[in-house]
């Protein structure tokens, strides 16, 4: 088991958002999480990544058999947890290559690998950015500043590729992409797939699942996973919406 979430209750301030969520992810698997707006999908992704303002009220999250909640966000990243943000931040004056270098250095250092030389780093960056079709000029610009919606999403995939995580949680990385970009992102995700890694993909559309075929599809409703199935569940949701799931869950 790579990730195991049991009876997870999470709140922000006085508001309960996750209300007893269970999820098990094994190495090599791809899980899709779908659900209406505000049901708690991003909250789940952010709790896994360690966003400070969320409070875990009850339940357990274990990653590679360890208590994930005991780790700082940066420790989780170094241990191989990655989240692609639904709304990535913009970093004024911090260039993308500089940001990536600092990230890669931090992660490699933790894994006992030596720091990449500028030349080695450039080679790695060139290879990865070509995969997601980000041109050389773009990595010289400030992180996400003035990037289009689609460019920001591709930049998230670039970061994933550079950091080479074990568990990737992608929060709507397929939203706002044109047809070509969707393919590029899907290819990026597929090339990341391996028997030792796992992907949790939050999405509103079954379309991406045509490219990246999931092992499991889950419906997150009002803070809980209320239904799980195979790829066909995504198609059913697309056709019928969430009301029937809600009715059955009630």
């Amino acid at each position: 088991m790579l990730l195991e979430i049991r009876d997870l209750h999470v709140s922000v301030g006085e508001t309960d958002i996750l209300k007893g969520l269970n999820l098990t992810v094994n190495p090599g698997e791809v899980h899709a999480i779908m659900g209406p707006n505000g049901s708690g999908k991003s909250t789940l992704a952010n709790v896994i990544a360690g966003r400070p303002e969320f409070t875990v009220v009850r339940g357990e999250v274990s990653y590679q058999g360890r208590d994930l909640m005991a780790l700082l966000p940066e420790e989780r990243a170094r241990e191989g947890v990655f989240m692609a943000f639904q709304y990535p931040a913009e970093l004024a004056g911090v260039r993308t290559w500089q940001f990536l270098k600092a990230s890669v250095d931090a992660v490699r250092k933790h894994r006992g690998m030596k720091e990449l030389s500028i030349r080695e780093f450039d080679r790695l960056l060139d290879e990865k950015r070509r995969m997601v079709r980000i041109d050389a000029d773009m990595v010289k610009r400030s992180v996400n500043e003035g990037y289009s919606g689609g460019e920001k999403k591709r930049n998230e995939v670039l970061q994933m590729a550079m950091l080479d995580p074990t568990l990737a949680v992608l929060d709507e990385t397929d939203s706002g992409l044109d047809i070509d970009a969707l393919r590029i992102v899907a290819d990026g995700v597929n090339s990341f797939r391996s028997p030792s890694k796992a992907i949790v993909m939050v999405t509103h559309y079954q379309r991406i699942l045509g490219y990246v075929s999931p092992d499991r599809v889950h419906v997150l409703l009002d803070g809980r996973i209320v239904r799980s199935g195979g790829r066909e569940l995504a198609l059913e949701l697309e056709e019928k919406g969430y009301d029937w799931v809600r009715a059955e869950a009630a």
Binding site: A89, L91, V94, F99, S103, A106, H110, S142
Partner: protein, 444 residues
């Protein structure tokens, strides 16, 4: 009154002791007028309802006794000592002043040509330069400014740059004003006059720095006359010693179609103030003013910028940034004045502050006065700490809080450094200035 006299006794004695034998009468008269004016004005106090000095208390300067010796020569100073304090590049022309007095041995100035003349003001005055006589102290009114009056009263030496019409001076001209900062507090009066005739181009860098840790007072005035269609790039580095007082002003006047760009970087002095006044006095003239101030400890830095749009189709762009730490304080003030006849003025101002400590404080209070009706004016000021959302984004990529904040603070400042066009200066700022930026002790 008696008290005032007592307070300025030392200045009075030094004023009368200043050796100005052989100087032309106009200069003697100018100095006398300025001295009389200084005695009337004194140092500014917030008490008088003085908007310009509302947030900066000049009393520590007024209270202290500073000695002045206009004859002091940079005995025993070598290029190695001075270079450590300032940016430098072999390609630059460099005039070095120690305690306000020209130090030939430390300078590397170009031969005077038909295109450009770079000399000490003293030389220019003694050779009866008409340009000097017609411009010196004509652009910096000291009627309402005690510091400018005091500087003018002690006017003896300084830098003089004269760029001939149509000349394109590619080599940056670096004016270095060093203070020795000896055991007994001293004051010096750096002065510069830069005249860029019609259609000329030049880059001028001013550096202010201290050589020793002692307490001293540097009271500077620079005047810049930019002719029709002329372009001047002006950089100013205030890197005075920690205990120093620095009060400087620059007054820039532009003719039709003239362009002035300024990059002001300040991180030195215990108490520092820079007044930059730009008079857009010709139609279509434009200025672009960037600045970065970095404060820590109990430092107090004040930038006061006054832009006057006097003619139509004039443009001003102001982008300042501050990084504050410790218990320091920064002030960003001044005015943009759009005269009635200055139609089609396009003015924008922005002052952004990164306040890293809960004990640091910034007063960002620029004011707009618009008397024309067909203008485009905008201004904004912000102050805030590093955005936690952004820090989380970076932590989720494996960086610790320290690395993340350092990158963000560096990034914030580098946006200003990036506007510097002179590559050797930009390199200095990137390697020296940015590297001493404070980090952040975040609590999560």
């Amino acid at each position: 009154m008696t008290q005032t006299l007592t307070r300025y006794e030392r200045y009075e004695a030094d004023f009368h002791a200043l050796d100005t034998a052989g100087r032309p009468q106009w200069l003697q008269d100018l100095r006398q007028t300025a001295w009389t004016r200084f005695l009337d004005l004194g140092f500014p106090t917030a008490r008088r309802g003085n908007e310009k000095w509302k947030y900066t208390n000049a009393a520590p300067i007024a209270r202290m006794e500073f000695g002045h010796d206009g004859r002091s020569r940079p005995n025993g100073l070598s290029a190695e000592t001075t270079d450590a304090a300032i940016p430098r590049h072999d390609a630059w022309s460099q005039l070095v002043f120690v305690d306000g007095v020209f130090a030939e041995a430390l300078s590397s100035r170009p031969e005077s040509t038909d295109e450009v003349r770079v000399s000490s003001l003293e030389e220019a005055v003694l050779s009866n330069s008409e340009t000097v006589e017609s411009h010196l102290a004509r652009h910096t009114p000291f009627e309402d400014d005690g510091f400018a009056a005091l500087n003018t009263a002690f006017l003896r030496d300084g830098a003089f740059v004269h760029v001939a019409a149509g000349a394109d001076v590619e080599t940056p001209i670096h004016l270095v004003f060093l203070s020795t900062g000896n055991a007994a507090p001293t004051v010096s009066y750096p002065r510069a006059l830069i005249v860029a005739e019609n259609g000329s181009r030049a880059t001028v860098i001013e550096s202010y720095a201290g050589l020793n840790g002692g307490r001293y007072f540097s009271n500077s005035v620079s005047e810049m006359v930019i002719g029709e269609g002329a372009e001047v790039e002006h950089y100013r580095l205030q890197e005075e010693s920690e205990a120093a007082f620095h009060v400087g002003s620059a007054r820039v006047v532009l003719g039709e179609g003239g362009a002035y760009s300024s990059g002001a970087f300040s991180r030195g002095a215990a108490l520092g103030r820079y007044d930059l006044s730009v008079l857009l006095d010709g139609p279509g003239s434009a200025c672009r003013l960037s600045g970065l101030y970095v404060t820590s400890g109990t430092q107090h830095l004040d930038n006061n910028i006054n832009i006057e749009h006097a003619k139509p189709y004039t443009t001003s762009r102001l982008n300042y940034k501050g990084i504050l730490d410790g218990r320091s304080r920064a002030v960003f003030g001044g005015t943009v004045l759009v005269r009635k006849e200055a139609q089609k003025t396009d003015a924008s101002q922005s002052d952004k502050n990164l306040v890293l400590s809960p004990y640091a404080e910034v007063d960002s209070k620029p004011a707009l006065f618009i008397y024309a009706d067909d203008v485009k004016c905008g201004h904004g000021a912000t102050a805030g700490n590093i955005d936690e959302e952004t820090v989380f984004y970076m932590r989720s990529r494996g960086m610790d809080v320290d690395t993340a904040s350092r990158l963000l603070i560096h990034g914030f400042a580098s946006e200003t450094v990036d506007t510097v066009r002179e590559p050797n200066l930009r390199a200095y700022l990137e390697s020296q200035f940015l590297d001493t930026l404070p980090g952040r002790r975040l609590e999560f």
